[in-house]
Each structure stands twice: as structure tokens, then as C-alpha cells.
């Protein structure tokens, strides 16, 4: 009975000969031979699929909304565009914020002073920055370690001798290295900005341990790091007003660059790739059609022999 039902309901539409069986009717578009009814069904199916995917995405977001974390807003960073470079003046200001505020607790052990050259500092400026630090080197000819002024090849100094010293000085919390910070947190620079500017009083019922602070963007809300960016906590060399939001924006930009020093080179390369493939792909497609045209447009005909004379 089921078989009969299937046969009855589908016989007219589905048992038609598949177009692929008739190569002489081969069309370059598979849809041109479809009836309006089929096109409407296909279109509706497409819309429903897209709607279903949208629903899944919306559900996904609504589930995320039940998390105990406040997700950072997506901000219009000037480097977010496909072909946009990082704002290098902002990198330089962000470096100033890092050096004068963040570096008191956070290391950037994968960033060397040479990395600043031609990015946000001239070579002379970067050398001067390095020379401000005293780096332990050695052993010398007498087998003793010694201190010397920093060089371009030196890495940004770690504020603590080791992780244990860092924990000891920070109530048990280890300030993370910031070299990869813009990739190491969900939300990237949006998260960093939100965290830096998101400190507030804890909601009623939230208990914080001694030395902890409340920040809704931090997983769990209780963070060991105190709010560190306030209006005019530093003074920018270029005279930009140092509001807390400006400081947070600049240090977030600096950390994006630190995570991806190749950022600008990558986007320049993207531009070249888009130009190259935009030219090569259509040419190759045309050449492919050119090579296939005889096969695609051939016609097979069945010519019955004329009946023998009786």
C-alpha cells in the first residue's frame, strides 16, 4: 500500500526522465527547463532553509545570552575593513599606555624593541626606548653576569622575575603575558576595550574576595586586576586628550598589532590576491568554456533507417 501511495503521489512529477539522460537537450543552466511550479518550490525551499539557518543562529545567540558573561559590543575599529591598516599613531599611543600603566604587572615577552621600528617609532626612538631598560647579560670574561643598557634586539622586560613572584605580588593572580592577548580572548580587541572600561560596582548579592574587583566582561565577574585606566592617568606625547576611553582604545589597538605584527602586510597581500584572482579566474573560466564548447553543444540524433523496399 505504501508503495502504491508513493507511486501515485510522485508518478507525475518525479518519474519524468531526468534531463541528464537527454544530453541532446543539454543546457548550460540546469534551471531553464524547470516549470514555474518547480521554480517556486525550489525558491520556497531556499527561503525556508535560509530562514531555518537564521533561526538556528538566533537560538544560538539567545542561548549565549543566558551565560554569566557580558559579551562585549562590536566596535567600529578603523583596522576592521578588509583592506584597512592599523592606525599607527594609535599603536604608538597604545605603547605609551602599555609602558606607563600595563607594564607594571604584564609582560610582553614575544615583543622586541626592534619590532617597534618603522611601525610606531623611528630606529633612533626605538633604540632610546630600549636603552631606558637595564638588561642582565653575561657572563663576561670573568664569568660574572652584568647589567647593560637595552638594545634593539632585547625583548620588553618582564616586570617579575618569575611567575611565582608575579602571583605573590598580585594576591595569587598571575597577570597574563599580553603578546597574543588580542587573539587569546573571545572578542579580541572588543573584549580588551570592554574590560578596560567596564569596571563597576558589583550587583547586589555578589561577594568578592579580598583584592578582587568586579567587571561584568570578565568570566565570573571577579577579577584580580584593579581598574587602571582613568581620565588623564598618563599624558600623551602627541597631545591627544587622554580620556579613559581613548587610553583603552589605543592600548587595544597596540595589542592587536602586537598579536599580529604582520597585519598590514597581510591586508596588502589580500589586495594583490583579489586583483590577481579577479583577472585570472574569469580568463580561466572562459578558456575552460572555450575548450568544452564542442562537447557541450553537440547534438545526438537518432535517424531510423528507411524501411527496405517491399
Amino acid at each position: 500500500m505504501a508503495a502504491a501511495l508513493v507511486r501515485r503521489t510522485t508518478a507525475t512529477s518525479l518519474l519524468r526522465i531526468h534531463p541528464a539522460l537527454l544530453p541532446q537537450q543539454g543546457n548550460l543552466s540546469s534551471y531553464s527547463s524547470y516549470s514555474w511550479g518547480k521554480k517556486i518550490v525550489l525558491g520556497t525551499t531556499g527561503l525556508l532553509t535560509a530562514g531555518g539557518l537564521g533561526l538556528v543562529a538566533a537560538l544560538n545567540h539567545s542561548v549565549k545570552a543566558t551565560d554569566l558573561i557580558l559579551h562585549p559590543a562590536k566596535l567600529p575599529w578603523s583596522h576592521k575593513g578588509w583592506f584597512s591598516s592599523i592606525d599607527h599613531a594609535s599603536i604608538r599611543r597604545g605603547y605609551e599606555v602599555y609602558k606607563q600603566v600595563c607594564a607594571a604587572c604584564h609582560s610582553m615577552k614575544y615583543i622586541a624593541y626592534r619590532n617597534l621600528v618603522d611601525v610606531c617609532h623611528t630606529e633612533a626612538e626605538a633604540k632610546a626606548e630600549a636603552e631606558e631598560q637595564f638588561i642582565e647579560d653575561g657572563p663576561n670574561d670573568q664569568g660574572e653576569m652584568f647589567k647593560r643598557p637595552g638594545k634593539l634586539s632585547d625583548y620588553l622586560p618582564n616586570p617579575y622575575a618569575n611567575d611565582e613572584a608575579a602571583r605573590s605580588a598580585n594576591n595569587g593572580a598571575l597577570p597574563p603575558d599580553l603578546s597574543f592577548m588580542a587573539n587569546a580572548r573571545h572578542g579580541g580587541e572588543d573584549y580588551i576595550f570592554a574590560l578596560m572600561t567596564g569596571y563597576c560596582d558589583p550587583p547586589a548579592g555578589t561577594e568578592l574576595a579580598e583584592g578582587q574587583h568586579y567587571n561584568p566582561y570578565f568570566p565570573g565577574g571577579a577579577i584580580g586586576m584593579a581598574q587602571s585606566l582613568y581620565n588623564e592617568v598618563i599624558e600623551y606625547e602627541d597631545g591627544t586628550p587622554a580620556y579613559a576611553s581613548q587610553l583603552a582604545k589605543d592600548v587595544s589597538t597596540f595589542l592587536r598589532w602586537a598579536t599580529e605584527p604582520e597585519h598590514d602586510q597581510r591586508k596588502r597581500m589580500l589586495l594583490k590576491v583579489m586583483v590577481f584572482f579577479s583577472i585570472v579566474t574569469p580568463i580561466l573560466y572562459y578558456y575552460k568554456r572555450h575548450k568544452w564548447v564542442l562537447v557541450k553543444s553537440r547534438k545526438l540524433a537518432f535517424k531510423p533507417r528507411s524501411p527496405p523496399p517491399s
Binding site: T10, A20, A184, M269, L270, V273, V280, T281, L284, K288
Partner: protein, 377 residues
């Protein structure tokens, strides 16, 4: 009469029979491009991997730093690294489409080609898993810990096997070095297996969308399919370059930018996107051994497909199977999505239902085609 060198030279004639004069069905569609694209993906991975291995250091104290060194200090090292990481994703996109095409058009009836293909899938999955451990970030370490611990579900000898695999009592330096060794050598095993896969394929010839014997309708591989495949490669490389140059870390996990720390477990441990369907299946079974068996079965089940018997080979003649197939693709995509979610409702129950439907497909599909054959008689 003289013969061209491509037909007489002992080495060139092998390439000739595989890439130039190979008789190919006239009607194979763009879905048949993916075999060639997979060859390109493998080449990209081996090429970039070779240069990465010149700078990478397989030691737990240096692995993370050496990857950082590659990205920051090596000329175009960042490009090699993101090409290799995202090339893996492109590899799996092509792989899954290639397998889906094989299922849709019943290419599994080319028995030996299909079986070597399943072995290739398992080898590539193993290689990708091993490679993900190498950067020694948090997700590398904990992913390796979770997945290798699955072996401990083997009765009686499980724990012993895990320790043997680790080379110690936890995922440690010995694990990293052997994973690197295996990650380096396995692609060449894959390469050899690809040669065998092609050997079997060229003995029978390719399947085609109709699934009918195409011997009367063959055209030479060159120029028709060389140009078609080249076009496919250009499109694929373009897409890969867009991914690599516009969002190189779109598919990576933020936790893997934190150096591995055995004392801090990440909140959500999850594999790369291409393993999420299997991971969702693993987590949907409330028993460790059962979950491991289901995980393995989700891939190995492909070997039962050649047992299917239809009157016609291709799904072109089986409209109900076509609908079922797209349902299966939806299940696969939904499982991939759920694999990335936390183990909580509604995901947990959904994963259990979808896991059942995933395996049910392999039972229902042959029954439907038999039913259709009966209806058509």
C-alpha cells in the same frame, strides 16, 4: 609510425595514462573536481609543513615560542603557518564534499577505491589531530588529553595503552615529540595511499552522475579535465587565500593562543570544527566506552556502503534517497554546530536525537532504494 614520448617513456607514460590520455566520462560534473582539489590540498600541506618543520621545535618548553618565532621572525612565516592551519580546514571541506559526492552517486560500488578512500580519511583525520597538538597551546594540550584518554575506555588494557601512547603518565614532552614525528611521516603515508587510491580508480574508471557504464562516452583527461580541474584549483586557492588573508584566525580557538598549562583546564574543550560532528556523537552517549565506539563508528560506518544493492547506481534515479541524503547533510551540519556548544539542554537531547538519525540514515537509505526499485517495477 612514431609514438610520442609520453606514450613510450617508462616514467612519463605512467603520468600520461593518469593525467593526459586517461579516458574520462564525458558527463562528470563539478563535484568530480574535488579529488584533484584534495591532491592540491595535500601538496599545499606538505609544502608549507616542510618549511614550518625547519623552524618548529618539538619540546614542551619551546614549542609555543617556536610557533611565535615562526609568525614573528621568519620571512613570511606567518603566511606559512596560517596557510597550513587553514589549509587543513580546506582539506576537510574538500574531503567531506568528496565523500558526500561518493555517497550521493553511489561511487562506493567502486569497492577498492572506496575502501582505500576510507583508510585515507582516517589517516588524514589522525594527521590533523596530531598536528593540532603541536603549537602546544591550551587547546592543543587539553584536546590531546581528552582524545588520547578515550583509549582508556578499552577494557582491561586501556590504561596501559594510553600510557604507552603518551610515553609517560600524562601528555608530556615524550607525547609531543612522538606526535611531531608521526605528524611529519603520516602525510607521506597518505601520499602513498593516494597513489593506491588512484591505481584502483583508474582500473575501473570514474563513476559519473548517471551511474551508468560510460565506456561509449569517454573523452581524454587532457585538455578537458586538466583545464576544468585547474579552474577548480584557482577557485579553491582564491577562497583559501581570502580566508588566510582576511581572517586567518577565524577558525582557531582563542585558548590556543595561551601556552599549555596542565594545571588550568579550559572551560570548553573542543576540537577543530572538522571533528565537531564526531565529538557531538561522542558526547551524546552517556557511557565512555559506548561514546568511543559511536565516535569510531561514525567514520568507519562508511565501509558498509558497498554492501548496498540497488538496481541503478546513482541517486539520480532515486528521488526519495535524494531527499534523505540532504537530510543527512543537514544532520551532519547540525551535529557540527552542537559539537561546539556546552553540554546542556537543549543541545544534549538534540545531539542524542541527531546521533540516532545519523546512524539511521545508513539503514534507511538502502531500504528506500529497494522500495523505489519495487515501486518502479
Amino acid at each position: 609510425m612514431t609514438h610520442p614520448i609520453r606514450k613510450t617513456h617508462p616514467v612519463i607514460k605512467i603520468m600520461n595514462t593518469a593525467l593526459i590520455d586517461l579516458p574520462a566520462p564525458i558527463n562528470i560534473s563539478a563535484w568530480w573536481n574535488f579529488g584533484f582539489l584534495l591532491g592540491m590540498c595535500l601538496s599545499i600541506q606538505i609544502f608549507t609543513g616542510l618549511f614550518l618543520s625547519m623552524h618548529y621545535i618539538p619540546h614542551i618548553d619551546l614549542a609555543f615560542s617556536s610557533v611565535s618565532h615562526i609568525c614573528r621572525d621568519v620571512n613570511f612565516g606567518w603566511l606559512l603557518r596560517v596557510l597550513h592551519a587553514n589549509g587543513g580546514s580546506m582539506f576537510f571541506i574538500c574531503l567531506y564534499i568528496h565523500i558526500a559526492r561518493g555517497i550521493y552517486y553511489s561511487s562506493f560500488h567502486l569497492y577498492f577505491t572506496w575502501m582505500t578512500g576510507v583508510v585515507l580519511l582516517i589517516l588524514v583525520m589522525a594527521t590533523a589531530f596530531l598536528g593540532y597538538v603541536l603549537p602546544w597551546g591550551q587547546m592543543s594540550f587539553w584536546g590531546a588529553t581528552v582524545i588520547t584518554n578515550l583509549i582508556s575506555a578499552v577494557p582491561y588494557v586501556g590504561s596501559m595503552m594510553v600510557q604507552w601512547l603518551w610515553g609517560g603518565f600524562s601528555v608530556d614532552n615524550a607525547t609531543l615529540t612522538r606526535f611531531f614525528t608521526l605528524h611529519f611521516i603520516l602525510p607521506f603515508v597518505v601520499l602513498a595511499m593516494v597513489a593506491i587510491h588512484l591505481l584502483f580508480l583508474h582500473q575501473t574508471g570514474s563513476n559519473n552522475p548517471l551511474g551508468l557504464n560510460s565506456n561509449a562516452e569517454k573523452i581524454p583527461f587532457h585538455p578537458y579535465f586538466t583545464i576544468k580541474d585547474l579552474f577548480g584549483v584557482v577557485v579553491m586557492v582564491w577562497l583559501l587565500m581570502i580566508l588566510v588573508l582576511s581572517g586567518p584566525y577565524l577558525l582557531s580557538d582563542p585558548d590556543n593562543f595561551i601556552p599549555a598549562n596542565p594545571l588550568v583546564t579550559p572551560t570548553h574543550i573542543q576540537p577543530e570544527w572538522y571533528f565537531l560532528f564526531a565529538y557531538a556523537i561522542l558526547r551524546s552517549i552517556p557511557n565512555k566506552l559506548g561514546g568511543v565506539v559511536a565516535l569510531l563508528a561514525s567514520v568507519v560506518i562508511l565501509i558498509i556502503l558497498p554492501l548496498y544493492k540497488n538496481k541503478f547506481m546513482s541517486s539520480s534515479f532515486y528521488p526519495l534517497n535524494q531527499m534523505l541524503f540532504w537530510g543527512f547533510i543537514s544532520i551532519f551540519i547540525l551535529l557540527t554546530w552542537i559539537g561546539a556548544q556546552a553540554i546542556e539542554e537543549p543541545f544534549y537531547t538534540s545531539a542524542q536525537i541527531l546521533t540516532s538519525l545519523y546512524f539511521f540514515y545508513f539503514i534507511l537509505s538502502p531500504l528506500l532504494s529497494v522500495l523505489w526499485d519495487y515501486v518502479m517495477e
